[in-house]
């Protein structure tokens, strides 16, 4: 399964890279989201996958069973998802403002807008 996940990660990164290279502002933002997804899934896969063993200490036991999923990458990814949401919101609003002020979503037409 990890191998298939790796291919999926590659696809997410590839889509992200392709979208980052577009001239459309929205596609650029989508590209950032895809790269983020790829990174999250990469961390998730690198830690090794577990089936049906979430990182919970079962009732009656005081220590996390060693077969459980690794909680630390999950905490990292959870943080990354929420931060990614913040980044997305920020870039979206920035893009929306740029679209309103400059009147285009073509990055090539924006290249001189800071002069």
């Amino acid at each position: 399964m990890e191998f298939i996940m790796a291919i999926t990660i590659g696809a997410l990164y590839a889509a992200g890279a392709y979208l980052l290279l577009r001239r459309n502002l929205i596609k650029l933002i989508l590209g950032i989201v895809f790269i983020g997804h790829g990174a999250n899934l990469m961390i998730f896969t690198a830690a090794g996958l577990r089936q049906g063993e979430p990182a919970f200490v079962p009732p009656g036991v005081s220590v996390l069973p060693p077969t459980s999923a690794d909680p630390l990458p999950q905490a990292l990814i959870l943080t990354a998802i929420v931060i990614g949401f913040g980044v997305l919101a920020f870039t979206l609003v920035m893009a929306q403002r740029a679209d309103k002020v400059i009147g285009t979503d073509d990055l090539d037409e924006m290249k001189d807008s800071d002069r």
């Binding site: 979430p54 919970f56 929420v82 919101a89 929306q96």
Partner: protein, 138 residues
């Protein structure tokens, strides 16, 4: 794009969603959930309202300004952290009471901390959504 059906359902759903978000927050320490998820659910309750009956109606139901929510949330997080120094322990040290409650487990400063996260996440999401909605004249 007002829709009576959407409007009514979102009103009904709001209470349900808010209850669910509290539930997520409280049980988060022992089962899936927590401040992030809870805050997002609470935000989506009001976001739904904003989409169905407009941001001003949603703001009215919220009572508090989202900016204020962010401030309050950060304050709660900070206070939860300051319990440690108050007892001569490092900042953000977890402290627990003696009683054990159903659902929550042992109440302590981590729960307060998580509640702060809940409020901040809710405030942030709503600040963005309300302002964007007003901007677009939804």
């Amino acid at each position: 794009m007002r829709s009576l059906i959407l409007d009514t359902t979102s009103r009904l759903l709001m209470g349900l969603l808010l209850m669910f978000s509290f539930f997520l927050l409280l049980r988060g320490h022992n089962l899936p959930g927590g401040g992030f998820a809870g805050g997002l659910v609470a935000a989506s309750a009001f976001a739904l309202q904003a989409l169905s009956s407009g941001p001003s109606a949603a703001r009215e139901r919220l009572f508090v300004d989202p900016t204020m929510l962010i401030g309050i949330g950060l304050l709660i997080v900070l206070v939860a952290g300051l319990f440690g120094p108050a007892f001569g322990l490092p900042f953000l040290t977890g402290l627990w009471g003696d009683t054990s409650l159903p659902l929550i487990g042992d109440p302590g400063t981590p729960l307060l901390f998580d509640a702060g996260v809940y409020v901040v996440v809710m405030g942030i999401s709503l600040l963005i959504i309300f302002n964007l909605a007003e901007e677009e004249g939804v």
